[in-house]
Symmetry: C2
Subunit: 114 residues, 2 copies
């Protein structure tokens, strides 16, 4: 069985980047956005989220800045940089192509592919 972990692996960065397209957001907010915008289907654990944010930061795709959250808490806001925006476009494209390839395979109705 493909586990949730396996599935997430292919789209985690993609979803994080996407969540930042409307402006900076802190980590907790990123997880919440993903949860909300998938109707609760996708849940990102904190032990998954924070290392991922650090990876993206290390790659120069997002930039952190400490600030204060809506709830008056100390929070690290991540901003999508130019490179991050380009990466998002590339990731979306890769993902869509992959989904299409799999769909093509699953749609096969004869033993030998056309």
């Amino acid at each position: 069985m493909a586990t949730d972990a396996d599935l997430l692996r292919s789209t985690l960065e993609l979803l994080i980047l996407k969540s930042l397209t409307w402006g900076p957001r802190h980590g907790y907010g990123v997880a919440d956005w993903v949860k909300q915008s998938t109707g609760g289907d996708l849940l990102i654990e904190e032990g998954t989220l924070y290392p991922a944010l650090h990876r993206l930061e290390a790659k120069g795709w997002i930039e952190p800045e400490w600030g204060v959250s809506e709830n008056n808490r100390r929070a690290k806001f991540y901003k999508l940089g130019t490179r991050g925006r380009a990466a998002l476009r590339a990731e979306v494209s890769t993902w869509e192509r992959y989904v299409a390839s799999v769909a093509r395979a699953l749609a096969q109705t004869t033993a030998e592919p056309a």
Copy 2:
């Protein structure tokens, strides 16, 4: 960047099972089927394929039987069992639901999800 490895991870078993829906096929043939039916987009390395087949066999989803290939070579043919067929249905469903969830998130056009 989501690597090819990350992407494969979510659908490898799915694709293998699918390739067996028309009857037994040996490992090499499974890899070839995937390659052909995705137009060359997806390539399964042998170091990925054989361990995966063994995992599926250990789970009782596929059953091996030694035979002779079309090219007169000794080959291990895998057959989809009843449990394997059920697993395939489940995996397809899981995958499609996941794809739909991601699509929903990517389709967001406002900061706060509906």
